[in-house]
Amino acid sequence: MNRQLPITIYVLSLALVLTALTAGRAFAQGPQPPTDDEVNAVAKELFCPVCENTPLDVCPTQACRQWRDQIRSLLAEGKTSDEIKQYFVDTYGDRVLNEPPRTGFNWLAYIVPPLVILLGALSVVRTLKGMKKPVVVSPAGGADRSEARRLAEDDYAARFEEEVRKRK
């Protein structure tokens, strides 16, 4: 009896260690179901082709729920966010992305606004330069002074500045 005890303990502890090890391995390697937050993080950047302008993560329709389930299973298979997006693009076209992809014709989406704004800025600066007359600085400041006075007369702000200056 006494002789058998150490063996029993040995076997038992071995079993325990093995169980712990396998359990640990399962815990470390087994597929952990993706959380809702992980699903939403991907869904946020997608639009389903049916619901106009509603991002997938907040769309309440049944179809969109199925899409989110699909994302979940793709995540569970170990797919990355980019791979999943590509999968949806391949299946449904570019419109599922929340921005036009930066390819070919779509570059226009990104080029046109800055170009137009730049042109606008240039024309504003040109207008300002063109309107700007050379300021004649006479020693007495005569012309400037009278211009300033003329402005002061019709402008409340300038009158007000004057007031403040006087009171200092």
């Binding site: 939403n40 309440p60 076209g93 989406a109 606004p113 500045e161």
Partner: protein
């Protein structure tokens, strides 16, 4: 019978409107005051006529005449009466009629008095207003008849017809489909009228601008005459946008208030040009500059108003093919093209007359900074416009539909809005006419220093994110400059008038309402920006499936799922409501009840089921806890999925909106019109002297 009568008054309104436009033009050509007066009276007549048409439609709506297609589509017998009335603008045909109703009301208000001083402008104001009105009435008559009735033809098909097809029987559905439940929210009841009020009232300054161009009265008279109209138009449009945002936050259940949806942008674009216009007219009034540019802005605003209505009404957004299928799309398109090209043609014709009277003397002067402000507003407009139409362009040329979503707009508009804020901080300190780096620097260094100190403080206590810090710096700068402006003005007045500080502040604002009303609007922008920074940069979200008494943790809150229950309401809608308990740390904060409402409408033609996700919200100045019931297990009801957002600072957005409206009210509230007072006084003097005689 009543429906046919309504259609009759609609057609009559259309004819009278066309007559008014025609008579006004003829009157100008024949130099006949009688003809112009006749046009004016016809214009005035459109209002009672369109009102009568609207009244007929409302009667049909309220009395459940479901054989009228429009009534069938937007009401059901279980809806309360007030909702049946507001269902007027709950569908396409009705909302177009609502547009016409407002247009005729405003045009009548403007032409109610005879404009003795500005007689030459009057006929062209009538023409512009009537052409616009006729267009919208025409849409109702030819494409979207709100009085069309349902008929069953011999082969059994049910369809809507203005006139009964041969052999067809009037079809009487038992009940209507009911108003889309999303549109039953109070915000959505007021939101479209506000937006439309804003849209339509921008037509008035445009009409005066066109009148000024045609007649060659290119001084700033048209601007002075319409200044208050413009401010009110801006008020309504802004209020409409705000209500739309609030509605989205309360009802749409996606944790935000603005999603860069094309429909939102459609209303935002005229707001951008309108805001730019409000700023740049000041330069024309003060300095006689930018006359051409102001014309461009008001023309753009008008066209964007029509374009916005077109985008939301033609179905073009879902696809260019939908646009081609509905007749209303091409009609809008042609109208926009025609009005735009005629306006631009007129502008080119008067281009030389609209030259500036003064010159820019400094790149840092107030007027130059205003010009940059305009550039930025136009920049945002370009981004928005291109973002909205790019999917259509892409579909047209490549056949591929793409989505232009929030990241596109946020990336492009973020810097532009920041620059606008910077200008908002700098411009009030610059002087008209001449400003230098030194004068500007002297005024600016103190607020800049304090704003920097605040930013540094926030860096150590609140956030390290650069975008947020930049945002907070700009916000602080604008706030300081604006408060400083008030303080400086009130102090000066206090000393010169020997008043208390607050009465000085009060009088100062009362005496210069446009200026200080404007500053209040600037301050409201600061508050709104705080809210926007909060939600854009610091929003947190999580989602999870909970068993009863399980919890989710987010941003210091603990949310525990307590119970779920179904309710059946008498008006036929069902509600599934979850109750959660909210804790912060160990402190119990209370219960919230996110829910889903189901509206099920059985009907003869098709059954509909619509659902609304209503969040449970706990709102404080620091943050909003916003909980959505996403899903649950109906069989056992033991587990449910919740989505929880923490939206920091978002309440400041709504507070800012209130301050914003208050600021516009201060600036726009009618007072004794400076233009009319002398005339009236003279009149009185004349009368009294006549009496003395």
């Amino acid at each position: 019978m009543l429906a046919q009568f309504g259609y009759g008054t609609l057609v009559l309104s259309f004819v009278v409107t066309l007559y008014a436009a025609g008579a006004a033009m003829l009157g100008v050509r024949n130099k006949s005051l009688a003809q112009i007066e006749s046009a004016r009276r016809a214009m005035l007549l459109t209002f009672p006529l369109v009102s009568l048409t609207a009244l007929v439609l409302i009667t049909l709506l309220v009395s459940n005449q479901f054989n009228v297609q429009f009534v069938y589509e937007v009401t059901s017998s279980s809806m309360p009466t007030y909702l049946k009335v507001t269902a007027w603008w709950g569908g396409q045909a009705g909302s177009l009629l609502f547009w016409s109703f407002l247009m005729s009301a405003f045009a009548s208000a403007v032409t109610l008095h005879k404009w003795e001083r500005d007689r030459e402008l009057l006929p062209w104001v009538i023409v512009t207003a009537c052409v616009t009105l006729a267009f919208f009435l025409g849409l109702n008559i030819f494409f979207e008849n709100p009085f069309a009735q349902l008929y069953q033809t011999l082969d059994g098909e049910i369809g809507a017809y203005t006139f009964a097809p041969a052999g067809a029987q009037l079809f009487q559905p038992v009940d209507g489909r009911g108003l889309n439940p999303l549109l039953r929210h109070p915000g959505m009841i007021i939101h479209p009228p506000m937006l439309y009020l804003g849209f339509v009232s921008f037509v008035i300054p445009f009409a005066f601008a066109i009148a000024a161009l045609v007649t060659g009265r290119t001084d700033d008279r048209w601007i002075r005459l319409t200044r208050r109209w413009t401010l009110w138009a801006w008020f309504f449009l802004s209020f409409g946008l705000v209500l739309g945002g609030r509605w989205a936050y309360d009802v749409l259940g996606w944790g935000g208030y603005w999603g860069w949806d094309p429909v939102e942008i459609a209303a935002f674009m005229p707001w951008l040009t309108g805001t730019a216009f409000l700023h740049s007219v000041m330069i024309q009034e003060k300095r006689g500059m930018l006359k051409q540019w102001n014309m461009v802005l008001i023309i753009l605003t008008y066209c964007l108003v029509i374009f916005g209505t077109f985008l939301t009404r033609s179905g073009v957004l879902s696809s260019v093919h939908a646009f081609a299928q509905s007749a209303i799309g091409p009609a809008f398109f042609i109208f926009i093209l025609a009005t735009f090209s005629i306006s631009i043609r007129l502008l080119i014709y008067r281009w030389a007359d609209l030259r500036a009277e003064a010159e820019m003397t400094s790149m840092l002067s107030r007027e130059a900074l205003f010009l940059f402000n305009n550039l930025l507003f136009m920049g945002i407009l370009v981004v928005c416009f291109w973002g909205v139409i790019f999917p259509l362009v892409s579909e047209l040329f490549t056949g591929q539909k793409v989505t232009v979503g929030p990241p596109f707009y946020e990336r492009a508009n973020g810097p532009l809005f920041s620059a606008l804020f910077f200008l908002m901080g700098v411009a009030p300190l610059s002087a008209w006419g001449h400003s230098t780096w030194q004068t500007l620097g002297r005024a600016l260094w103190k607020p800049t220093l304090i704003a920097t100190a605040i930013t540094v403080f926030l860096y150590f206590t609140y956030t390290e994110k650069p975008a947020a810090l930049l945002g907070f710096f700009l916000v602080a700068l604008v706030l300081l400059v604006t408060v400083y402006e008030f303080w400086r003005g009130a102090r000066a007045r206090q000393q010169s008038h020997k008043e208390s500080f607050f009465s000085a502040l009060n009088h100062l604002t009362a005496r210069n309402r446009r200026r200080y009303g404007g500053y209040i609007v600037h301050m409201s922008m600061v508050l709104m920006a705080i809210g926007i920074l909060g939600i854009e940069i610091f929003q947190k979200e999580t989602q999870g499936q909970l068993q009863l008494n399980q919890s989710l943790n987010i941003g210091g809150y603990t949310v525990t799922y307590a119970e779920i229950a179904d309710f059946h309401y008498r008006d036929g809608h069902d509600v599934t409501r979850a109750t959660v308990k909210v804790y912060r740390g160990d402190a119990y904060l209370g219960e919230l009840a996110p829910r889903i409402d189901y509206y099920y409408t059985p009907s003869d033609i098709e059954n509909t089921l619509q659902r609304m996700t209503i969040p449970g919200v706990r709102s404080t100045l620091a943050d909003d806890l916003y909980i959505l019931l996403v899903d649950w297990q109906p069989a056992t009801a033991t587990s449910a999925t919740f989505k929880i957002y923490v939206n920091p600072l978002v309440n400041w957005l709504w507070i800012g909106c209130l301050v914003f409206l208050f600021g516009i009210l201060i600036a726009a509230w009618p007072d004794k019109d400076a233009e009319l007072v002398p005339a009236r006084a003279k009149n009185k003097a004349y009368q009294s002297s006549a009496a003395d005689d």
